[in-house]
Symmetry: C2
């Protein structure tokens, strides 16, 4: 947990509309930050998550919510954007074993870079991201070593950093929590889980498939927390 800012500080909060990033935003709000929520339309199959992000940002009282359009489909390479099928079912036992095909190349690096740009414009050094090292499904850019390296790079990249006026802080309050702990934290923060969306491959009307990596991790988290996911 981070210490609360003395006066309301601005923070850029990456928000996919899923369980983790929504809990992360709820925590930043609880800690007194004025939150600038940032989502991405990156050609993802599960674009319905952007509607979830808008609902969550409004419900949690974000000061602003931007959706940046970026083109990650040009490079191909991931089941989340390209013509590769999203793996189902048997994936459960494979979680945590190697990097899955749902990995989008350099995604968090790109997302954090945009967050850094907005933070620079807002003149704040606070960025929140709901990455998680335990249930991280093998994504390399969800590890603490990566986050620290990004902070060091960010300090070199920005006007404020060069002038020594600031030190970019990437807040990762969920980094060492299990999915069940995240669910409990979200509940304690009063997060309305029904607003969030996790599925990588939802039906056209937005209904989760129940079989992909994200659905399985979510279900496991709620089950272990002993909380019902409506």
């Amino acid at each position: 947990m981070t210490s609360p800012p003395a006066s309301p500080s601005k923070a850029v909060c990456l928000l996919s509309g899923g369980l983790d990033s929504s809990t992360c935003l709820a925590l930043a709000r609880r800690e007194g930050y004025e939150c600038y929520a940032l989502s991405f339309d990156y050609g993802q199959r599960h674009r319905v998550e952007l509607e979830a992000a808008a609902r969550v940002a409004a419900a949690l009282g974000a000061a602003s919510h931007l959706v940046a359009r970026i083109d990650l489909t040009v490079f191909g390479g991931s089941a989340l954007t390209a013509g590769i099928p999203v793996p189902k079912g048997r994936q459960a036992q494979e979680i945590g074993q190697g990097i899955p095909v749902t990995y989008v190349p350099a995604r968090n690096t790109i997302f954090l870079s945009f967050a850094l740009a907005w933070a620079e414009v807002l003149e704040t050094s606070h960025i929140f991201i709901g990455v998680n090292a335990l249930d991280y499904s093998g994504y390399p850019d969800c590890r603490p070593e990566y986050i620290q390296a990004f902070e060091r790079m960010a300090d070199m990249a920005t006007q404020a950093g060069v002038e020594g006026r600031t030190h970019i802080q990437i807040h990762t309050p969920l980094l060492h929590l299990s999915k069940a702990e995240i669910v409990r934290l979200g509940r304690d923060l009063g997060l309305d889980f029904s607003l969030t969306h996790s599925c990588y491959d939802p039906a056209p009307e937005g209904r989760p498939c129940g079989l992909c990596d994200a659905c399985l991790l979510r279900r496991k988290g709620f089950e272990e927390a002993g909380i019902e996911d409506r």
Copy 2:
């Protein structure tokens, strides 16, 4: 200068269509790399540079040229994308003194992040960028310390880096060259300067204004090199 690869290696080459990035691409080609040129449509006033980039990529025999559409206008904050006028004329004496309003927040970080994504898909560790620390006009993300920090972060961010199979190399062959030295290098590499575009605020038909930072730096470089800029 970098040592030439044993067999043709792939390299992602950031290409704005300007003098520096075009010279950088020419050098990567001369060194034997199979070049994947990457440009960005980021809402810049001087979008005509994308046509220059396409001409240069074709002339230099790039294996591929992609233009990624990204939305940097959402954050505002720079004369290159927002409604802030591009400074003219008296700017000449201010070059190198502080960070100019033409600075786009976190631009090189965002550009390099996309290059990293493509490099990961192409399974190469080579990225070329034509940044320059001498005539860099005060942009923080054109300094060697920044480039090194990005390399370290990139090694943490990628599947290949995590597995220890690769070390991301950001090649910056122009880093310590003056503009005049870049012009001479471009000439020696056979670069057709008339294909390139540098102006931040061109007339609608693409003609450079002759007064902005980029125009002044370019003119100074050609004058000092004793070479005519057609």
